[in-house]
C-alpha cells in the first residue's frame, strides 16, 4: 500500500464524489472523466499497461465524450432547479452500502484464497492478444456481435428519425 496508491485512490474517489454532488451536469461528466483517469493510473501502477492505456483511450477518449454529448443533446445541460439529492436517499444509500459490502467481502476473501508468494505476472500485449484470440475467442466474438447490433440499431433509430422529419 504505497503512497502512490493512496494518492491515486483519493483522486478516483474524489472524482466519483464530485460526479454525484456537483450541480452542473457537464461538471459531473468531467468529474467522471477524472475518476476514469484515476482508475487508469491505478491500472498502470499495477503494471497493467494495456489495461491502463485502453482505459484512457476508450473511457476518456470515447465514453466521456459520449456522456457529454448525451447531456448536451438532451436538456440535462440546464442547471437543475430542484435539489440534487433525490428524496429516496435513504434507500439509495442502503442499496449502495449493500453492494459495497458484497464486493468488499469478495475481494477480501480472494486475498485469503491466493497464495502469498506468487510474483506479479508479467503480462505483455502479446499475451493478451494470444489469449483473446485463443482461449477467449468466443466471448470476444459475442461482444463484437453485440456492439455491431447496437451500432446498427443506433443508425436505424437515427435514420428512422430523419425519415420522419422529412
Amino acid at each position: 500500500m504505497s503512497i502512490v496508491f493512496w494518492i491515486l485512490s483519493f483522486l478516483t474517489v474524489l472524482g466519483g464524489l464530485a460526479a454525484v454532488t456537483l450541480r452542473n451536469t457537464v461538471h459531473c461528466a468531467l468529474a467522471v472523466a477524472i475518476a476514469f483517469a484515476g482508475l487508469a493510473l491505478l491500472y498502470l501502477q499495477l503494471d497493467a499497461q494495456f489495461a491502463g492505456f485502453a482505459q484512457i483511450l476508450i473511457y476518456i477518449g470515447a465514453v466521456a465524450i459520449l456522456v457529454v454529448f448525451a447531456i448536451l443533446l438532451t436538456r440535462g445541460s440546464d442547471t437543475p432547479t430542484d435539489g440534487i439529492f433525490s428524496r429516496t436517499w435513504f434507500a439509495g444509500t442502503a442499496i449502495a452500502a449493500a453492494v459495497f459490502a458484497v464486493l468488499g467481502w469478495a475481494v477480501i476473501q480472494s486475498v485469503h484464497a491466493l497464495p502469498h508468494e506468487t510474483a506479479a505476472p508479467e503480462v505483455t500485449v502479446n499475451q493478451i492478444g494470444n489469449a483473446l484470440l485463443g482461449r477467449y475467442v468466443l466471448p470476444l466474438e459475442i461482444v463484437a456481435l453485440l456492439l455491431t447490433a447496437s451500432l446498427v440499431g443506433a443508425v436505424m433509430v437515427a435514420m428512422h428519425e430523419k425519415g420522419e422529419s422529412k
Binding site: V26, F53, I56, L57, I58, I60, I65, L72, V125
Partner: protein
C-alpha cells in the same frame, strides 16, 4: 567519432546525471529529458509557424512576414510577446474553472505524446511495451480538451465548433488507428522502438521502410489524411474555420490562452508527424546505407520537418471541406480502404518473399482505389461538383 555525434545528447545526459548523488539520479535523468523535449519542440513550433507563414505566402504569390528580423525570422518572437501582453478576457457567463483548464489540459496531453517517440538511437524518453497505445490514448484525450474549451465559453457558436471538431476527431481516429495497426501487424509489437529497428535494415543499400511497400504506401496516405484531420489542419479545419465560426471552439480565448491553443495545435502536428515518421518513414534510420554516418536525430527531425512542409503545402492548395463531405469521406472511403489495407498486409505476410507478393498486393490496392473512386464519382458523392448554380 560518428557514433559520439549520434549519441551526443545521451552522453551529455549521462554526464550531467553522474555529477549528482545517486539518490537523485533517476529523477534527474527523466527531468533532463523532459526539459529537453519542452525546449526543443516549442522551438520547432516557432520555426514551423514561421515556415508556414512564409511558405503560404510564397505559394500565394506574395512574400510572408519580412519586417521583424532579417527575412522575418523574429516574427514568432513578436507573436509570442503579443500573446503574452494581450488582455486575458474571460466572458462573465463562462465557466471559469473549465475555461481555464481546457487549454492547460490540451497542452499537457499533447506534450505527453512525445514521451514515446524515438528521436534518435537510444533517445526515447520512456521505453514502453505498449507505446503506440499510450500515444493514441493521449490523442484521444485531446478531444475532451477541445470539448471543454467549446462548452465552457457559453457561446453557441463555440459549442457548435467544438461539436464539429469532436465529431471530426472521433471519425478520423478509427482510420488512424487501423492504419497504424497494419504496421503493428507486420512488426509484431506495439513498441515504437522495435518498429524503428525493424525498418533499420537495408537491402542493396535501400532501407526497409514501410512506405516502400505497397500496403505501407497506402497506409501512409490514409494515415496522413487521418492525421491532418485529427489536428484540425486544412483542408479539415472547419472547426476553426475563420470564415464560418470566427475561431470555432477557441473564439472566447485571448492572449496567452489562445497562444496555448495555437501551441497545442502545432505541437500536435509535430507530434503526429513524428509518429508517422516512426511508423512509416523509418524513424531515425538513414535513407541509404552509405548515409549512416549522419547522426540519427538529424534524420528524425528532417523527416518531421519534411512532413510539416507537406502539411503546409496541402494547406496552401486545398479548399476547406464541408462537414458532411468530411464525414462522408471518412466513413465511406478512408475506413473501408484502411480495412482493405489490413487484408493486404495479411496477404503480404503470408505470401513468400519475392516479386509476386509485390504485384499481388499492389494490384489489390490499385483496383480497390480506382474502383471505389470511380463508383463514388459516378454516384456524385465525391469529385467535381454535382450541382448547378442558378443561371
Amino acid at each position: 567519432m560518428v557514433s559520439t555525434l549520434d549519441q551526443i545528447f545521451v552522453l551529455l545526459k549521462h554526464w550531467i546525471v553522474s555529477l549528482l548523488p545517486a539518490v537523485l539520479q533517476p529523477v534527474t535523468g527523466v527531468v533532463l529529458s523532459v526539459v529537453a523535449i519542452i525546449c526543443v519542440f516549442p522551438a520547432l513550433f516557432a520555426i514551423s509557424v514561421l515556415l508556414e507563414r512564409k511558405g503560404l505566402g510564397r505559394m500565394q504569390n506574395r512574400i510572408g512576414p519580412n519586417r521583424v528580423g532579417p527575412l522575418g525570422i523574429l516574427q514568432p518572437v513578436a507573436d509570442g510577446i503579443k500573446s503574452l501582453t494581450k488582455e486575458d478576457i474571460v466572458p462573465t457567463n463562462a465557466d471559469a474553472v473549465v475555461h481555464f483548464m481546457a487549454p492547460v489540459f490540451l497542452v499537457v496531453v499533447v506534450f505527453m505524446g512525445y514521451a514515446v517517440l524515438p528521436m534518435g538511437r537510444n533517445m526515447t524518453l520512456v521505453k514502453m511495451d505498449a507505446a503506440l497505445l499510450f500515444y493514441f490514448a493521449m490523442g484521444a484525450s485531446t478531444e475532451l480538451a477541445v470539448f471543454m474549451a467549446g462548452w465552457s465559453s457559453r457561446n453557441k457558436y463555440s459549442l457548435l465548433g467544438a461539436m464539429r471538431a469532436v465529431a471530426q476527431m472521433i471519425s478520423y481516429e478509427v482510420p488512424l488507428l487501423l492504419s497504424s495497426v497494419s504496421v503493428v501487424m507486420i512488426t509484431g509489437s506495439l513498441s515504437l522502438d522495435k518498429i524503428v529497428e525493424a525498418q533499420n535494415q537495408y537491402t542493396w543499400g535501400l532501407p526497409h521502410w514501410y512506405i516502400f511497400t505497397p500496403w505501407g504506401c497506402a497506409a501512409f496516405v490514409m494515415f496522413a489524411i487521418a492525421a491532418t484531420a485529427e489536428t484540425n489542419r486544412s483542408p479539415f479545419d472547419l472547426p476553426e474555420g475563420e470564415s464560418e465560426l470566427v475561431a470555432g471552439y477557441f473564439t472566447e480565448y485571448s492572449g496567452f490562452k489562445f497562444a496555448e491553443f495555437f501551441l497545442g495545435e502545432y505541437v500536435g502536428m509535430l507530434s503526429i508527424s513524428g509518429l508517422g515518421t516512426t511508423l512509416f518513414l523509418g524513424g531515425w534510420s538513414a535513407p541509404l546505407e552509405v548515409l549512416g554516418f549522419v547522426p540519427s536525430w538529424i534524420w528524425f527531425f528532417s523527416k518531421v520537418m519534411l512532413s510539416i512542409c507537406v502539411m503546409i503545402w496541402m494547406r496552401g492548395t486545398l479548399p476547406r471541406l464541408r462537414q458532411d463531405q468530411l464525414m462522408n469521406f471518412a466513413w465511406k472511403f478512408v475506413l473501408p480502404f484502411t480495412l482493405l489495407i489490413l487484408v493486404d498486409v495479411v496477404v503480404w505476410r503470408f505470401m513468400g518473399e519475392g516479386w509476386l507478393r509485390w504485384v499481388v498486393c499492389s494490384a489489390i490496392l490499385l483496383i480497390a482505389y480506382v474502383g471505389i473512386g470511380r463508383s463514388e464519382m459516378l454516384r456524385k458523392k465525391i469529385g467535381p461538383r454535382s450541382y448547378r448554380y442558378a443561371e
